[in-house]
Symmetry: C3
Subunit: 355 residues, 3 copies
């Protein structure tokens, strides 16, 4: 797919790696070990599997420091998984090809078009929108009025961004995701009717955030719902109004975060986790998949279960859970035996009081 050609030495420099073999070998692509062909670079995570390199058909391999030599040119690094991500990205990187505003796209008045932009057929951009350089807006995208979008951001097909929302630079929003839908807020009257509370805030998404497909990030009731820089969100995630997600957090698929909850930086939420509203999770909190969190959590807490408890305690309890029916039976038997023993005791222990 890549049209680039870079020397192994250039790639090694990018990741501060050490070359073994010919640094002048030219690399044009990236592939897994098994399918690599001439010109491809691959990566090996486990040093113990280095023997497999004998059958390798590509041109070079990124390996951990523990691998010292092999029948192919190597880049030795501390973290081959990380280095391979950087190298693959570089190999794929293309100069932005501005296609301009397609005649079948719609752009509202007072939206200024930057020099380099791609707005695809059947995309719709509202009025007074501020578009950064090298923004890509695919088909079916709807951008509301008064939105701001930073440089190099990509809105994939069928994304919706509501009025007034602010999207940073190098953000990727995947297809079907909705930014800036109304928060879920009602006041219930004495007859049980729900009166809608106007949702007049916005969503702010900072630089380098990636949000998966078919997610929802609701606009704040007032103020902002805020996804801070570097955070990566998987598909089908729900972020309620006035939520703040700290920098570089990871939120796996189908998580739901209720309104006004605050997450620190580098928080990790496993798939299908639910967070109650109005709670605070400190920096580096990790929550196991399918857990439900109802309380504030300190920095670095590792929790699991619904309601969530410390993860070690959860794992032990969950392991025991399967024996619960057996425990119930045992407990009954023991109760009975103790009752019998106690009554016999009373008969034989001298001076026991009758209660």
């Amino acid at each position: 797919m890549s049209e680039k050609s870079l020397s192994l030495a250039d790639l090694a420099a990018l990741v501060e790696g050490e070359i073994v073999g010919d640094g002048g070998v030219m690399i044009t692509g990236f592939a897994p070990l098994e399918t690599a062909e001439r010109g491809d670079i691959s990566f090996l995570v486990k040093a113990g599997l280095a023997d497999s390199l004998a059958a390798f058909k590509g041109s070079a391999v990124i390996v951990p420091m523990a691998v010292e030599e092999a029948p192919v040119p190597l880049i030795r690094v501390k973290d081959p998984y990380l280095a391979s991500a950087s190298i693959h990205t570089l190999l794929l990187k293309k100069i932005f090809l501005a296609k301009g505003v397609h005649e079948r796209a719609w752009v509202g008045k007072d939206t200024s078009i930057p020099q380099e932009i791609t707005i695809a057929p059947l995309a719709s951009v509202g009025e007074r929108v501020k578009l950064g350089e090298r923004v890509t807006i695919e088909s079916g995208v709807v951008v509301g009025d008064d939105v701001e979008i930073g440089d190099d951001t990509i809105l994939k097909a069928n994304v919706t961004v509501g009025d007034g929302c602010i999207i940073g630079k190098k953000v990727i929003l995947h297809s079907g995701t909705v930014i800036g839908s109304d928060g879920y807020g009602y006041a219930t009257d004495s007859r049980g009717f729900h009166v809608k509370r106007p949702q007049v805030g916005i969503v702010r998404i900072d630089d380098d955030v990636e949000i998966g497909a078919n997610c929802c990030v609701d606009r704040a009731a007032y103020g902002v719902t805020w996804i801070k820089s570097g955070t990566k969100i998987d598909n089908l995630v729900q972020v309620g109004h006035n939520v703040v997600v700290g920098e570089n957090s990871l939120i796996v698929a189908q998580v739901g975060i209720a309104g006004s909850t605050i997450l620190g930086r580098n928080v990790v939420l496993g798939g299908q986790v639910g967070l109650a509203g109005h709670i605070e999770l400190g920096n580096g909190v990790m929550v196991a998949a399918q857990s439900g969190v109802h309380n504030d959590q300190k920095d670095g807490a590792r929790i699991g279960g619904s309601p969530a408890i410390p993860i070690k305690q959860f794992v032990r309890a969950a392991t025991q859970f399967g024996k619960l029916a057996e425990m119930g039976r045992d407990l009954k038997k023991v109760k009975k035996a103790v009752a019998e023993l106690t009554s016999q005791e009373r008969q034989i222990v001298p001076g026991e009081k009758n209660d």
Copy 2:
């Protein structure tokens, strides 16, 4: 945001509140206590925080009856949270601005266009659609054939409404929501192949319903899937075929309701709840977040857990859950101790039978 200007007395009348201070003060906006400026009205829920009004910079505050005076004009009401929703809504209310059918929208044949309507660029409306007055259809919306949409309803960007569905008045459907996708119904043959059961019913959504972003409401196999008036649904909710949701229910994000299940009115389902198919929940049933319900529930039942049990019982059990490993250990020890006691007992209790 508001261009309106209303006297404090007018607003008090709307919510049957009691004015303290100058009823003639003019209100033009609504803001939280901390950010209110001149012309803004705010609200205070807890009387105990009334001292904070000394620093208030807005023009008036909605307060609970327990607050009798303050350094700013007041509206005293029973429920400030509710009253503020009504007042904020009134201040934001605009006269419907009909933009007509945009030349870049598509409208099928035999769809009659009412006097006042907005159909945005790149929206698509099918054939024989009946559109109410003051309907708003945003960009990217797709309305199928033979759909009916009531007055004052809003379809946000990228909503889909399938053929034949009926949407009431003052309904709001948020972006990405799909009304009238096929229900999930198959008959499996002896070889394990699944034969699709045609889904020939519709979805009916009554007046004043609001449905969040990226929800799915499946059409009935036959007949209707029915969301009754006043019900409010959050984002990413799944409503299966032939489900009936009663009036004024609240369904929080990521809930799933399986086919043919019937909900009464004013039911509340917490986030990520799952309801099995073919069950019935009475009026006012409340289900805690992440619960799974497999059985019919009586009016007013409060339940939690998966499978769900009465909420108090669930909370007690869930609290105990964390001690399960410890309980297991204790039980083992007790069993051992009892076994020892029993064997000793046998040695010392006269006349004990050997079994």
Copy 3:
């Protein structure tokens, strides 16, 4: 809805059924027992309810073999539920009506248009796309570049199919579903920043697959994410990168499958189930709703709970769960009683050692 007219004898032949009564009666529609009118065929699943046929107003009924006669013409079959699906489908089947490419649709260059096709207004099809015969692409659909779509496949409104994905024949993708969004893959550096791993694979969907509304199927990191033939997926389901779902599986709403997990054929996943990544479920595995699966599962395993255990064990444990608080109290009492007994024992048992 049907314009067809078929004899009862023709319908019986389709499902290898046995006619009781007049095989020449003409059938034009399908309806439930209660609402059937003249010309309609209905079905009855439970022989015990055959008495209800006395009030039947339609023209014929599909019944189980146990029903031998009735006041209406019958088709007797082994499985009326299955037979009715086939008959209803036949009655609804229409000749494909090719509407061609609408002038308001967009089709990229080098995409060849087959003889019979429907591409609706405001649909967008990329470059070099291969379209089968009788494909339907509804409004709001976005098909990327280099996509392949097989004969008779339907993409409902607002579906997105990413570049390079391969969709088989007779596939149905419901509205809002996203095929080929990027997989969720990052490498984290020493400062906690997440470096995106390029996702350069595709999604392959085989013949006769149906996928519900607002689902996400991520493209592979390398290679393919693969949904095999005959599998039926409900709404709001997440399928991670490099997942393989075997033939004729059933995946109910809101399931999440993490990356690289492999499912056999005829697997059944209940609603809101979560599967961890990199595990393997054998053929015919059944997972109860809301369960979480972290380990490989053998062919035919039936499991439930989070983490999942054998279903019978789960049901027993879950039943006991509600008594957990009571068990805790009982265990405490028993512990106390045993402690007392033990200390008394020490006093009365001769020769007991002090430990």
